[in-house]
Amino acid sequence: MATEDPIPTPTPDLGTKLQSMPKSMLYLILVLCCSIPLFFKIKVPNAPTPAAKDLFNALNSIPSGSTVLVESDWTNSTRGESGGQFEALTRILMRRGIKFAVYTAADPQAPEVSRDSIVQISEQERAAGEKGADRWNDWVNLGYFPNAEGTANSIANDPRKAFGSKKDINPDGVKSDVFKSPVLKDIKVLSDFKMLIVITASNTSTVIIQRLSGKGMPIGMMVTGVMGPETSVYYTSGQLIGLSAGLKGVYDMETLMNDTFTKPGLTNFGKGDRYYPTLHFALLLLILAVAAGNVGMFLNRRRKA
């Protein structure tokens, strides 16, 4: 025999329900929103931002054969954004025949992550009939520098001293002074680097602006979406030559590459193209969740009134 509940629990009305959706349900929908689009190829139309265009144009205007400095301060935790940025950047540099020296000031893991990415991109480029990039001749790995502030100061002071103790593997398999490499042999002062590109997921961006801005070396940045607003301040003030922020920034770079590098067989699209549709669904879910909460609040208010 069923026992009767003496105090029946009131069924929550729609307003209350909308305002108190369980977190687990929201999280489940988010998982679905983020994963399902990955299985489909969805082409999203895109208009690149002026900041991303500026960065792309600046990279495209560097004379072939010159050297740029790349500060790679990202690891796999932000590979969705920074990984895509770095891949786009290395493709552009390789295709344009620009040499690059990569260093890190944020995370001891970063040099290994960036090196793997460069090797992978170089192989892909070669498979498509491009030159790719050889370690030592086209790029060097300067490794990790603890103390971002001190490192940036030293670089501003004298790049030859800042990187002086670093060695990289030359084609004979011997570790040799990086300044003997074709990449760095002509670098005497900071402005010999045609540009500094910072791919970062940490506050090294601010350190770079403080220590290296206005020293005759243009600076471009590729940052995560969250960092976009704070970094954009330096773009509008003219301290950055260009800026690519977040997944939209990655997709912007890829769109611009696709317009420029039209040789058949080249890979222009990568992580940006793959993940950008997912961002749409996640943001849509965010809008719907906020809307639901507010509709619930209004329904409850009307009921009380």
Partner: protein, 310 residues
């Protein structure tokens, strides 16, 4: 030789040379003697020493910032100088400060490394005690201690083999890897990096739940905030931005110009970014920067008597 020393000075010696070892031992002796002396001093004297050292340490960076800087390797007429040599007092000090910078930076790096040792000691002490006394959640401590040990052992053997082993450059290629390199790869790339990425991606869930909970239109300000947020979110959605802009341009009758042209999503977002977002971030940054300057001054000049907590 481990690393090439680019610039010789009092503070460095050739790697592996006996002069280096002598200097290292001397430095240790001087260090311990100073420490013993400090401990025997009365608190007042100790404070004076601490204040003095703090001031001198800060003074270097202040002098570095204020002193005119020599142009690297270029003389007064712009011709390259190699090696750059000072010709008068101002230049001499300039060069001195410039050369001292990497050494001072090394000092702070070395200090941080020693302090890291203290940090690791704290972890081992807390979790070791938990483990021995079988306190609540000791299982977690066991996992932590085991992970620390494994990572250190594998990491160091791998480091040794890839730096001082028989043929370090061979180990660059995975086909020449031994068990240690595979283990290191599994721990570093397979576990640590993936767990890092997993923690980072949790933020997406938290953003959703925080926005759902907090974003309620309870006032006029909240309404403006929500409307602005919507515009920014839409502008991040390429599809919405593309068709919105196209629609507005269609109304204004051209791809460019016209009053309606000001209401494309790109224009509206750019306006918000340049006229609302950027200035407010700048204002906050100015405040924070000046606050840091004031704090830095108080610390440098030891103006907060009785220590930071007094």
């Amino acid at each position: 030789m481990l690393f090439a020393q680019v610039q010789k000075s009092f503070w460095n010696e050739e790697s592996g040379s006996s002069a280096l070892y002598i200097k290292l031992i001397l430095a240790l002796v001087v260090g311990f003697a100073t420490m013993a002396l400090l401990l025997r001093m009365p608190p007042r004297g100790r404070r004076a020493v601490v204040v003095g050292i703090t001031f001198l340490s800060g003074l270097f960076y202040v002098a570095f910032y204020l002193w005119p800087k020599p142009l690297p390797g270029v003389d007064g007429t712009g011709a390259p100088l190699d090696p750059a040599k000072p010709r008068d007092f101002v230049e001499y000090v300039g060069f001195y400060l410039k050369d001292a910078l990497p050494i001072v930076a090394d000092f702070s790096n070395i200090l941080s490394t020693f302090l890291l040792g203290l940090g690791v000691f704290s972890i081992i002490r807390i979790h070791g005690r938990k483990l021995i006394r079988r306190q609540t959640d000791w299982g977690f401590s066991l996992v932590l201690m085991f992970s620390v040990l494994l990572m250190v052992v594998v990491g160091y053997i791998n480091y040794w083999q890839t730096h001082y082993g028989p043929d370090p450059s061979k180990l660059e290629l995975p086909r020449n890897w031994s068990f240690v390199q595979y283990a290191n790869d599994l721990l570093f790339n397979g576990l640590l990096q993936q767990m890092d990425a997993a923690m980072f991606s949790l933020i997406a869930f938290y953003i959703l739940s925080a926005a759902y909970r907090a974003f309620r239109i309870r006032s006029v300000e909240a309404t403006i905030l929500l409307a602005t947020a919507l515009i920014v979110i839409f502008s991040l959605m390429g599809v919405v931005a593309f068709f919105w802009d196209k629609g507005v341009n269609g109304i204004s009758g051209a791809t460019t110009g016209g009053i309606a042209g000001n209401f494309t999503l790109t224009e509206v977002y750019t306006w918000i970014k340049q006229n609302v977002q950027d200035p407010s971030i700048r204002a906050i940054d100015f405040g924070v920067g000046i606050g840091a300057l004031a704090m830095g001054l108080r610390l440098w000049l030891s103006l907060e008597r009785g220590g930071a907590s007094a």
